[in-house]
């Protein structure tokens, strides 16, 4: 279980203190898919970075399985908005990075990298360099890299925001398939209402300036066999409800 407990965060902006997150509390059970939804600048990325241990909260604490999160760890893997691949490493070497850090042997590393690259449909592109890949493929590699290091919790910061609609839909379905196999907790930051409604079990809507939990919406829409959701009348009703909850950030 993940517990975010009364987290607040201030930034210094031109010598002035600006509160970006205010008293955010959340509980997420293992295996659940939580979307953190909000307008641009509402602090949702900051909240995710605090959970990742990349930033410190000014007040409050975060616990994962009873342990306080104070620094980054391979136990909570992050997928960045900018895919953040290493341009001097080929696809397979990028995926092996986390395994090198864990100190795995070369043959084990290769086996796991190929396994996860097959899972994201890139087994034919092992030796390509990142700049030879399309945007969607780069995000698949980034996903495989995080998957391969086998974290207990996935933190995803608008991973598909920069992609075209078609690629985005493909990757959303693939993510759900992987999630249905791995059964790990996912925290997925997005500003896309439809994405949140399609993917998540629970949707935490943040208000803007400062970011506060406006409402945690439980998504009761049934999942298909591949964990996706059919986009019928109820789906669009949920989408409308989420839209009405989001403040416009400006």
């Amino acid at each position: 279980m993940l517990q975010i407990w009364e987290v607040s965060k201030d930034y210094q902006l031109k010598g002035r203190k600006v509160r970006i997150l205010d008293d955010v509390s959340l509980k997420v059970e293992d295996g659940r898919f939580l979307a953190i939804l909000g307008a641009s600048g509402c602090g949702k990325t900051t909240l995710l970075r605090i959970v990742a241990g990349l930033e410190e909260a000014n007040e409050g604490k975060v616990f994962f399985r009873g342990e306080e999160i104070t620094k980054p760890s391979a136990q909570w893997g992050m997928v960045f908005q900018d895919h953040a691949l290493f341009p001097w490493r080929n696809v397979q070497e990028n995926v092996e990075l986390g395994l090198e850090i864990k100190g795995l042997k070369k043959t084990e590393r290769r086996e796991l990298a190929v396994k996860y690259l097959t899972l994201v449909g890139l087994s034919d592109h092992l030796t390509k360099l990142p700049n030879e890949l399309s945007g969607g493929m780069k995000h698949r590699v980034a996903l495989a890299r995080t998957l391969a290091s086998n974290p207990s919790m996935f933190l995803m910061d608008e991973p598909f925001a920069a992609l075209d609609t078609q690629t985005k839909k493909e990757l959303q379905r693939e993510l759900l398939q992987i999630w249905s196999i791995e059964k790990k907790m996912v925290l997925f930051v997005t500003h896309d209402v439809e994405e949140a409604a399609f993917l998540a079990d629970m949707i935490c809507v943040l208000s803007s300036c400062p970011g506060r939990v406006k409402e945690v919406v439980v998504n009761h829409l049934p999942r298909n066999e591949d964990c996706s959701r059919s986009k019928g009348k109820e789906f669009y009703e949920l989408k409308e409800r989420l839209l009405s909850l989001i403040d416009k950030g400006w």
Binding site: L54, K71, A84, F86, W88, L97, G98, K102
Partner: protein
């Protein structure tokens, strides 16, 4: 503009032609002007190459470049990384470094000889002093351009600071280090010739003075040609390395 190779070859021919005109025009004196001509220089070059005299002088020069450059690369990369990572050290070293960088390495020659004696070692030292700055400066700017996200990726995969250094910073700066080496090899090859005119008895710089003292100006011109050609080759070799290790392409 569509035939760069042809134009480059034509440039060589034109340069040789102009050289021949100057040599035959008696501006260098009536008696020995013709010994400076390209024909005589190329003939001497051929004889020097055959007799092994050329290799005898070029090998010590190349060895000095290699030793000096190796020292400069190690020192330059380490210093560049340190000042790139620690802002306070960068500020602390800024003025002294700029001061030393702007003094001619040859000005250090007397001190180098007092400290290191006569022979190869002061030449190594001068080459290293000349070559280290471009390596430091380019390594530093490479470190400054390392993306913060790359470092965060390592941290979120469970890596510590040492792994940030070995998995991110070192590979990320390689193209910048190569740029530094390209500049450095050019400078050190230029510095080598005057350095070899001071206190050593082998090498291409020494050989120029030796030819002058023997009044064999054709051989002297041949050595100048060789110096230019080796410089060109060294530059191209680093250029090949540069292309090979350039992940940003």
């Amino acid at each position: 503009m569509k035939h760069p190779l042809l134009l480059k070859a034509m440039g060589v021919v034109i340069a040789l032609f102009l050289w021949q005109i100057v040599a035959s025009s008696h501006v260098l004196g009536d008696d020995f002007g013709s010994s400076f001509s390209p024909v005589n220089a190329l003939t001497s070059l051929f004889h020097l190459a055959l007799s092994g005299d050329l290799a005898k002088q070029a090998v010590p020069s190349l060895k000095r470049i290699f030793v000096g450059m190796t020292a400069a690369t190690f020192l330059g990369v380490i210093v560049g990384i340190v000042i790139g990572l620690y802002g306070s050290i960068q500020y602390l070293t800024y003025m002294p470094f700029q001061f030393i960088r702007m003094t001619s390495p040859l000005a250090w020659m007397p001190i180098a000889i007092i400290l290191l004696g006569i022979g190869d070692r002061p030449v190594y030292f001068l080459i290293a002093v000349a070559a280290v700055w471009p390596v430091i400066i380019n390594t530093y700017s490479g470190v400054k351009r390392v993306s913060r996200i790359w470092i965060e990726v390592i941290k979120t995969l469970g890596g510590n600071d040492w792994l940030v250094l070995t998995k991110v910073i070192v590979p990320a700066i390689i193209p910048y280090v190569m740029t530094g080496l390209k500049v450095a090899v050019g400078i050190s090859w230029i510095i080598l010739v005057p350095a070899e005119m001071l206190g050593v008895s082998s090498g291409l710089g020494y050989f120029i003075l030796d030819c002058r003292d023997r009044f064999s100006y054709d051989e002297m011109m041949a050595v100048i040609l060789v110096i230019g050609m080796i410089g060109l080759i060294l530059d191209s070799l680093i250029g090949i390395l540069q292309d090979h290790y350039n992940w940003s392409l």
